[in-house]
Symmetry: D2
């Protein structure tokens, strides 16, 4: 239902990944070969941790309801700013309206979150999901997507202390609520979370047949594989991307994340995988 990209590494201009590659996120907004939808034209967002001290401790957000492919502000912004860690997301709306408050990434304090996929029958479950939130968080839900509710449910379950456990418990709770309503295969998607230092990326669905997710191999290896590709020299040794589908056609540049897996990218570019909600349910 969407496409997203998360970058960590040396500070770069986000346009290097969002605009310029053959299958950049903007290119995917108009034509996504691996997506559930071909077109992701229902708004977009960029969230970035500034590389220099910003007035605000949080990541900065740029949200727009226009399609990404012709958005002038997106072109300007992603060429002008630089950031060592940013998220970007292009949306194909399943139901909730096209408005900035429904654009990913979402933010809470230093934390960012984005999602590709769906909570099945979300309108039917919405009341119970909202009731499950910490009451303090309830008024902070500004939009009407299922994704944002999952984010705040994960915060309710401790995402800020332990993102993997927090999101895991939240998704289990979603599955419990769905079961009570007779909804099967409720969770579908890939999720990204960051605190500005680390990226956690999740590939998970209740039916264990999730939307695609890829990570880039480490940059020194990639540069050695393709010494003739000048573009790769624009990136530093710590550069790492997690993305819904490969940004280029270079064989071996992107590797698929396994089903029911959480990926961790640390500030040094290190990549780790672990099982996520693989066994018994709820």
């Amino acid at each position: 239902m969407c496409r997203w990209l998360a970058y960590s590494g040396e500070a770069i201009h986000p346009a290097l990944l969002i605009l310029e590659p053959r299958h950049s996120l903007v290119a995917q907004s108009l034509n996504s070969p691996l997506g559930a939808e071909t077109v992701n034209g229902d708004g977009f967002g960029v969230g970035w941790y500034p590389s220099t001290d910003a007035l605000m401790p949080e990541p900065a957000l740029f949200h727009s309801i226009e399609p990404a492919w012709h958005d002038e502000n997106l072109r300007e912004l992603t060429q002008a700013i630089d950031s060592p860690l940013f998220f970007s997301h292009v949306r194909a709306a399943a139901g909730p309206p096209i408005q900035q408050t429904n654009c990913h990434p979402f933010r809470h304090g230093r934390w960012m979150f984005m999602h590709n996929g769906v909570i099945a029958h979300a309108p039917r479950l919405r009341r119970d999901l909202m009731m499950a939130l910490d009451p303090e968080l309830f008024p902070l839900v500004h939009g009407t997507t299922d994704s944002e509710v999952v984010f705040y449910l994960a915060i309710t379950y401790g995402l800020q202390e332990d993102p993997v456990a927090g999101l895991g418990r939240a998704l289990r709770h979603v599955e419990e609520i769905a079961e009570a309503h007779g909804v099967r295969d409720v969770v579908q998607g890939t999720f990204a979370v960051s605190d500005g230092e680390t990226i956690w990326a999740f590939r998970y669905s209740s039916m264990h047949k999730s939307r695609t997710l890829y990570y880039s191999v480490d940059m020194p290896t990639l540069q050695e594989m393709y010494p003739e590709v000048d573009r790769l020299r624009l990136f530093g040794a710590r550069a790492r991307v997690v993305v819904s589908e490969p940004l280029t056609d270079l064989p071996g540049a992107f590797v698929e994340v396994p089903e029911s897996t959480v990926v961790t990218i640390d500030a040094g570019g290190g990549y780790r995988e672990a099982p996520f909600l693989r066994d018994d349910a709820a």
Copy 2:
């Protein structure tokens, strides 16, 4: 926090009231002498019952996040359509974001609703207000205004059977929830409701010091008072307006609705007043 207008009578082009008068609703969007805010530039809406059979049984809505004063679509639309009963609203946002789902009027089946004013400390009360809704209605709240929640709370309390009783009970419930949170003087505003036949307009606040509300005197009388005003001949004998502040400077054309009052305009142009929540609470 907003300005609104409701018309009932012979079918007219809404531009006659929304665009053309000296103090038209669009003029009020840029400069509202009697408003809590001078500028009401945070989106607008028009809701109209078509004069000919439409494909849908409901009133049609046009919502925009642009200021009304330079909106080309508003000019086109209100000159092209005609309607025997329409609402229009210009918004000054108190807090909830500028998005179409936060633009009035709101609609539920054949019913329309709009509001000028505020529910004090709405974010703090929001969870309890949402919990008070009929669970079937919960997923129909598409925006994040306090006004829309009041509408669905009134539906929960029977607005479709008895609008005066339904809104009355809803506002009393809001006051009870507020009291439990230590919030005083919670309700402020004027409200308009219609089913396509009748308009109910309410002036009420918990502190009994409400936003202004006016109604137009009956058209034959007005035409007799001002035989030299050609514009008045554009209106039929049943034409009647309820509006946040007078549309013209003609003395006697608009009369203030008393505090804590509900006004009823029937399809024949008849005007009635009754006390609304004047005495004992809930």
Copy 3:
């Protein structure tokens, strides 16, 4: 570069053609099998002659920079209004920015105009094209598309007296200007023009290999061909559509307009074809 639809006949709700058919114009905005681009998400427009007396003598316009596929106002409007003659257009921008002034249809007095296609190297030719306009018309060009300039050039050449001759001379002049700049195959497209009574639709390109264009067979014949298709009974005997590509998969319902041809649809539903700029010139 776009898709469009023109209707003439008994007054209908435009949604019947814009929203509802299997390959409605809105469906084509997201997925156009025969278009030069698959996605036409760069704004849209509807222009309609109201079926009842409107305040203004001109057709009314609704223009939006949002993609058509999720636009709520488009859904509301096209179900609420009715019209005996309307145009609708979904845009895939070739270069000029996404703004309401670049949305089709364009209007001049009672006349409407829309275009699918392109003037090759339009920026290089723009100054000479603009200079060729009647100086009185120069300040009326509000947008920056090549299409709008062609419209005003056709008016300069007498479109309001003779649409076929006016557009013919304008396109010939475009070809002359292009030749002076060394630009070949300059005109590409299909064009629609109306004065509120008659529709003229043109399929033409300098290289005589033009974008597709179709017309619907006369409605009594179509209803006889498909007596089991209930939807067809929603239309009257004079209903006729000209459209970039067929709205349905019903064999025989839509017929291709030949290359270099002008089609005339009169108010009675009559269809005529004539050659358009078929011989050598320019």
Copy 4:
């Protein structure tokens, strides 16, 4: 018809001037005491030279058609970026439509330009003004404001070599064209130009009764005048602002630029004044 602000000095977050002061540019967008219009809600723009190397040599632009006062992206952006030289502009549209291509500042290569004021009877003069442009520049006029045409006319007249002479000749040419059309008092306004190093700001009108313009006194002096104002310590010694009206009520902080004057702010914060088009001509 607008309000604008230009900053030069140590790199700062633009929010320090655009959002935070008592009479910030955003505050002026809703309520401008000295403006020709009280409300400047018809879009806005920010143009900034990035403080770190950007992918593009030009200043970056952010343009929006929303009112500035509730724009979330403006808040995010101006707190996240920092810049040693930026422009910002809030618009009150005189006639040209509300679209991003009509938002200031405008850009050509490394050059930025913005304008508050009006070219009288611009539609009548538009053809002759456009004809006066270097033909190479003609297709670069993307919007429909008189301001943008003045910018390209100044470039035609050598703004990039000598901004004062270039704009001077352009305005004289505008006055000549106006005279030929019988239009008097044609130029009205204040203008700002920069190449990323220096700011040139102009206060000029044909009738020598121009819109207001102010500059801030040098920061060390201001900090000495108001040692108790903590906010002033956020600025460096080279900080300097030119602005349509004062940002604060601190007496002596802002000084009016004289009529028919050009102001130069160099990268070191130095301020110079010179007469501009003071004598008779044209």
